[in-house]
Symmetry: C2
Subunit: 142 residues, 2 copies
DNA sequence: TAATACATTATATTTATTCTAAACTGTTGA
DNA sequence: TCAACAGTTTAGAATAAATATAATGTATTA
């Protein structure tokens, strides 16, 4: 509510009219200090839990995709069964905890610039992302 | 056919009996100098085109997953709508050409070791993969 | 070769995602 | 202010990848 003006702005810039469903989605996504990762299913659940209004799945998908297109959200490819999304749109990398199915941000500064020596003629690099899979470290607890 | 013995060995080591359907899948996957990337749909099409036998989708999925589990194939997460698979199981990285929907290998030696400064307590890194998205470079052709 | 365990297949199911089209709402200009 | 219009929401249908099922077929082995 304090941020409604910003959300209206974000929506307008994404080519979307600021409806109450879309503003609710914005509140869930952006009304927090911390960025986070989510699946559509999880987002819908959060909206259901904290909203007095109902938002259809189609609207959630459409709004999320409009935000991705505009750069307000990022899609993280992890497995083929479900998309993960990220409210952190700065350049950064990820740990993926395969046991807990959880993404953890790695700040850009925590990874040395990835230098790729190979080039493809006629093509340029648009983005570089590192995904480090992590698992429990049970080596030291004898 | 020249390699049938190797395929039978691969299948046995994956806990699978060497049936003619599975050997056919092996021929398509491994009977070539070059490694390659594929989707299940593409694999089924290749089998249909070059085989006299028919292999059901279930068998293709099951065999591919057995090989992934054993480490004879790798799954590459790229987008949520479909899995990509890789017959190159060495440690390497990828370009993903978003315009042509095509994966291109980057040899491990062509990327400096990725050094991640952040650690997660109780977790260790299992694998590190770099995906560099590439697009057409139209800057220089004035 | 017979018994058994395992494999193949067509088909059904599941589930994420997208599409559709009818009802609804925000916007705008008279 | 309000009608007209453009854009939006929604339930439900459609699509498509992936997985499960269970009947039939085949490799193995004793
Ligand atoms: Mn998408
Ligand atoms: Mn899989
Ligand atoms: Zn992130
Ligand atoms: Zn590869």
């Amino acid at each position: 509510m304090a941020y409604a003006v910003q959300y209206i702005d974000k929506l307008r810039k994404s080519g979307l009219r600021p409806t109450k469903q879309r503003i609710k989605i914005c509140e869930v996504l952006f009304d927090t200090d911390k960025t986070f990762h989510f699946t559509i299913k999880e987002l819908v659940k959060i909206i259901e839990n904290q909203a007095n209004i109902k938002v259809s799945l189609a609207t959630v998908y459409n709004t999320v995709h409009a935000f991705i297109k505009k750069g307000y959200l990022k899609e993280i490819p992890l497995n083929a069964s479900q998309s993960y999304y990220d409210t952190n749109v700065t350049h950064h990398h990820h740990f993926f905890d395969e046991e807990e199915n959880r993404l953890i941000d790695i700040h850009q500064d925590d990874v040395d610039e990835v230098n790729i020596k190979k080039t493809i003629p006629g093509k340029k690099i648009k983005s570089v992302e590192v995904i480090a899979k992590i698992v429990s470290d049970n080596q030291s607890q004898k």
